[in-house]
């Protein structure tokens, strides 16, 4: 008789512990700092003008300005002939790894689709780097790398486990010239796709940072798409190795 009561208690413990344990150990949807706060620039940046090279102007107000007309600063000039700037692919990223969650993926340079959204490599094993923005290792701005969380035809993608990443985890990006740029995760957030703050996530100015984007949140079968984007932001640590 007592044996049965013990069995009842044991079964109840399992029935409660299983979902509770899952709930307690599942990766949090957001962690660390807000992803849009990293590298944010206070005011919107003004367009910059430059010729083929870019020494800056040094305005010096003239002393002999006439009273009624504005003073005229001195300006510098340089040749305006077209220049061939040559290839610049040496700093393109070629692979990405996040050891803590066993992520390793080849990186392709990508642009935008006809509808203006970012191109994601067709193969879910590869991730895309937004080639119009700065490459990883740049002095400023967000290097954006995005990949499929999964696809109907190919199954789980390179970024499938991205939601398990935690603050402090290391992210390594290897460049075409062999250098590796090392980052450390500082924030993770799940944001509704329709309101994704792309202007801030893709900002080409502000502190240097790496922004990883994939899909997340509930799946909407009618749209064959997830409702949210999972965004992870990481800051560079040390120098390029």
């Amino acid at each position: 008789m007592r044996r049965w009561w013990i069995l009842v208690a044991a079964c109840l413990v399992v029935a409660v512990a299983a979902p509770l344990g899952w709930w307690l150990t599942r990766p949090s949807a957001s962690e660390g700092v807000a992803v849009t706060s990293v590298g944010a620039v206070p005011s919107s940046s003004a367009p910059s003008s430059a010729g083929p090279s870019s020494p800056s102007a040094s305005p010096e107000p003239s002393a002999s300005a006439s009273a009624s007309r504005p003073a005229v600063p001195k300006v510098t000039a340089r040749p305006a002939a077209p220049e061939d700037e040559g290839p610049e692919a040496a700093t393109n990223p070629v692979s990405l790894s996040i050891p803590a969650i066993d992520v390793r993926a080849a990186v392709d340079p990508v642009g935008v689709q006809k509808d203006g959204s970012m191109v994601i490599p067709r193969s879910v094993d590869r991730v895309g780097w937004y080639r119009y923005g700065p490459p990883p290792g740049s002095a400023a701005g967000a290097a954006v790398v995005a990949g499929h969380v999964d696809s109907k035809a190919q199954g789980p993608g390179a970024m499938f486990r991205l939601r398990e990443v935690g603050v402090g985890d290391r992210v390594d990006v290897r460049l075409a010239d062999g250098r590796t740029v090392r980052y450390q995760v500082v924030g993770k957030e799940t944001l509704v796709k329709k309101r994704l703050p792309t202007e801030r996530l893709f900002a080409r100015d502000g502190a240097p940072r790496l922004v990883l984007i994939t899909c997340g949140g509930p799946f909407v079968p009618e749209l064959s798409s997830y409702r949210d984007n999972l965004v992870v932001v990481a800051e560079p640590v040390g120098g390029a190795a």
Binding site: C11, G51, A77, A81, G111, S117, M118, Y130
Partner: protein, 271 residues
């Protein structure tokens, strides 16, 4: 090289079109102003309101943009080192600089070879992601031209001192300038890296008669916009709720508890 003709006052040159209406002196705004020298064969000094703005300014060179306070300027161009109290080689009085514009003032030849100053307002509006803005300006002593990219005419029948522009996919192109409606190459080809989010302004300058036609390039970057979204999952494999194996374990445990409970109650009654 023909002698540089002295041009009489060209009268008021309005900049920025409607923007330039009667600027009060209290306004604190500025505009970014660049100057391009497109008159072949003459190094010059440029004066604005009687002050030297640029000295030893050589043909084919472009200034860095400088912030000029909103207001009215008298511009005068003299051969380098010449007394600015004399008669200028080119002049433009009462040039109104509005607030918040991006302007390039070009010293160049008209179609018939007369040196003039022409202000152009540069388009610094946002460009769609993935695209670039190509602006071409005819500032050469030459007839109407077509501008071609990769051999295909992009802008046709462009006349001095007009401009044409378009937003196109960012790419490296080989551009040349041909006499309008012909395959007679007047300038180029030149390789242009039309970068995403950048307005690349190409000037045709010089003189066809003197066989010194050339291209000058000015770029204005930072006009990009971000992509509209990141579509990165179609599988639906990501489980947002309790995973199926755990659901099964929970169900089995509950069933086990019910079964054991029934047996325990029965055993209690019998006992």
């Amino acid at each position: 090289m023909r002698p540089l003709r002295v041009l009489a006052a060209t009268g008021a040159v309005a900049l920025g079109l409607g923007l330039a209406a009667a600027a009060p002196s209290s306004a604190a705004g500025t505009s970014d102003v660049s100057v391009l020298h497109g008159v072949p064969g003459l190094t010059v000094d440029v004066y604005a309101n009687g002050d030297p703005l640029l000295t030893d300014f050589k043909p084919g060179t472009l200034t860095d943009p400088v912030k000029l306070p909103e207001g009215t300027y008298d511009l005068a161009v003299f051969p380098a080192g010449e007394d600015p109290d004399g008669t200028p080689a080119i002049k433009a009085d009462d040039v109104a600089v509005p607030s918040g514009a991006n302007i390039t003032i070009v010293a160049h030849l008209t179609a018939d070879g007369t040196p003039v100053l022409t202000p152009f307002v540069n388009d610094t509006s946002r460009i769609k992601p993935g695209e670039t803005r190509l602006t071409v300006r005819h500032t050469a002593a030459a007839p109407a031209v077509d501008v071609r990219a990769g051999g295909t005419p992009v802008f046709e029948g462009l006349e001095n001192p007009k401009e044409a522009k378009a937003d196109i996919p960012a790419a490296k192109v080989s551009a040349d300038v041909v006499l309008a409606g012909t395959d007679t190459v007047a300038i180029g080809p030149a390789d242009l890296d039309l970068k995403e989010g950048t307005n690349t302004i190409v000037y045709a300058w010089g003189s066809a008669e003197d066989k010194n036609l050339a291209l000058a390039v000015q770029t204005i970057s930072g006009l990009h916009s971000a992509p509209g979204g990141v579509p990165s999952g179609t599988g639906g494999l990501l489980e947002d709720g309790l995973p199926m194996p755990l659901v099964a374990v929970t169900v089995v445990a509950l069933a086990g508890a019910a079964f054991a409970g029934r047996r325990a109650v029965l055993a209690t009654r019998r006992g």
